[in-house]
Symmetry: none
Subunit: 207 residues, 4 copies
DNA sequence: TATGAATGAGCTTTCATTCAT
DNA sequence: AATGAATGAAAGCTCATTCAT
């Protein structure tokens, strides 16, 4: 049992190695341009071995996406216990993106470039994740409208788009220009500015 | 001369047919998944004819992008004569996206999915267009800040991201869900709501 | 009749233009790399027109070869009237190659590179020409052996190979290095040296 | 280690199989007409495997040429140790061609038809080999002239052409007519006759 | 578990040839 | 006579996937 557990650990380790390599390669070349050979090379293994750990290229890609969504939804599941206000929720989302971008920029890059806007790679399963995510935010906005914390003359769906679009645009810029996030203060500034504009608008105060 | 002009028309016509077919196919499958066979079939012509009119697949794709950017920059070139305020400018951009989406949804779809966020297809030329576009908007924001029409505590670059992100998110949603734009009133509502939130924020008035 | 004759002249003229263009292009690119488009462009006509004057690419190529062989055999047919000795005959062949190389280097180039040694383009018809040519020289050597003008311990076939090989090697060198033939004196030197070595050997006299 | 050595052997074996098949097909059809499909079929393997062992069609072709030149230059490198006279050198070259033609007629055929005279396939690298080869023979002739073993009224370059042309013509004839070389005695006769004529001329002794 | 040989469908691109005008 | 649009069969090369070892 010790041995099998050890083996199990090894299995997960190797899987993680491949996973990491895949992230790096897919981030750099895009899903369709990333070859299994590239990933295996990056991982320092033979390409045949990739198929021991993942059923197919698509399967490997789905594992990456699952990793992303799982983390995001885990964060949002906290909301059910702590019942934060809309500002905290949106702040948490922005922070999640920025934190992940600092920890695992490849993952964020892949989400932004391959999923968030590219319909090329969309399978029904992948579309479901997106919808689920947007629905959750939309209903948060609906709640906030009912509590009069957010203006009611704009549909929740619209607010969701505006908000997510702003985040994605920011992250995209960093991602595409390979900008590193330098420390907590920069994250604070970005996150603060984004929420500030979103809630109070681009017009100068007192106008 | 009549004949040559006629022939020239035919040439341009056929080119347009292929162009249209390519838009439809690329929109549906994405650039890399779109095969020349598909495009030829969609256009109702033989395989080789595509290469009679376009040097390569990349060339055909670039022609599509050029069409998009040309229209967008032509619209913005008007600004130099009419010197509109920042609100008119942003409104014009939103309207351009929505109008084009109504007229040529494929073109907008391709721009959004293949260029706006996908780094996979980015060539140096293509990156140049994007930067040029963002720079133009950024400098408009800088002007507006100097005239105190827009808050100055947020960098123009950030405002640009927030604004473009919001637009793209909207269009993306329509694009990905293949939502048709129903009439002028819907465009008005979307455009109005977007600008309203952007300028005045998501918070209810009087808060 | 005047008109039809005129038309006939025109036809032959245009045919000659295409012929010349084909020689230049095939010389430069080789038969298989030469495209009909290239030839038409070089001739200053549309590529469709090539097919008015020549049935196919192979047909055009055969016309070029025929031109070469016709000239060569016409020269050799003179022998039947003038009954020259073997030295005159071989000298005439060398001179024919050199003169043609001066007049129409493309033709010689094509013969050397595409026919003389390349089995790639050999059709049965083309092989026949070569055999005919070699047989004629071989029988000349046989005659000369009977008259004791040439050593008899080497088969006529061998002598033919040695002689033709030497010529071809020379012309090849000029052809491949694009060496121009500068005047009559150089031709004399080459031709003289070649025949001298062939008849008297590479060993110094008196050895 | 045994295993890896075995694998290495297998790899080289398979490479040799493809190499041999390529020789046969290219010999028969010429380089440009030889399709990868043909080679794979001839080798009894699948299409893609050719690309597992050779980077491209040109790469495979270059491997064949390298094989030829390597052998030829290895033979000539012996000269530096044994310092043979010009007659031995030329004899060694003739024998090399004839021996190789007996052992690997395809290789000789390819050299003759695709390289020796066809400018179509010439890349800069390939031209270098040829020049190197001719330079070596030329300088051997220059040496022999200094030692008065060879007549000095003909340029070494000319002698080189005459000699190589004669060999090539012989081999060409066998190659083009697919004549097999029957035994040592025939090789002796050809080689002897060729050198005899080259050194002593075609004229009968005592003339 | 690990390797990489082997497969072959699939893709872009080229170009001789035909044919309507 | 002249044009060039139109066709489609090849051909080279890539790469996900399978499988024997």
């Amino acid at each position: 049992m010790q041995q099998s557990s050890q083996a199990h650990e090894n299995r997960k380790d190797k899987q993680a190695v491949i996973f990491g390599a895949a992230c790096r390669v897919i981030r750099e070349k895009g899903y369709h341009q990333a070859r299994i050979t590239d990933i295996a090379q990056e991982a320092g293994i033979s390409y045949g071995l990739v198929y021991h750990y993942f059923k197919s290229k698509a399967d490997l890609f789905d594992a990456i996406l699952e990793e992303w969504w799982t983390g995001l939804f885990a964060m949002m599941d906290e909301w059910d216990r702590t019942t934060p206000g809309i500002e905290e929720k949106l702040g948490a989302i922005v922070r999640y993106f920025l934190d992940e971008y600092e920890r695992r920029p490849d993952l964020v890059h892949i989400f932004i470039t391959e999923i968030s806007r590219s319909s090329a790679n969309l399978t029904p399963t992948r579309v479901k994740w997106i919808k689920l995510f947007m629905d959750r935010i939309e209903s948060s906005f609906a709640d906030a409208q009912r509590e009069k914390i957010v203006r009611s003359d704009i549909k929740p769906r619209y607010l969701t788009h505006i908000f997510l679009g702003a985040i994605e645009s920011f992250i995209s810029a960093m991602v595409l220009e390979n900008q590193p996030l330098r420390g907590r203060s920069q994250k604070q500034r970005i996150s603060g500015g984004l929420l500030e504009v979103f809630f109070n608008g681009a017009r100068p105060t007192g106008h």
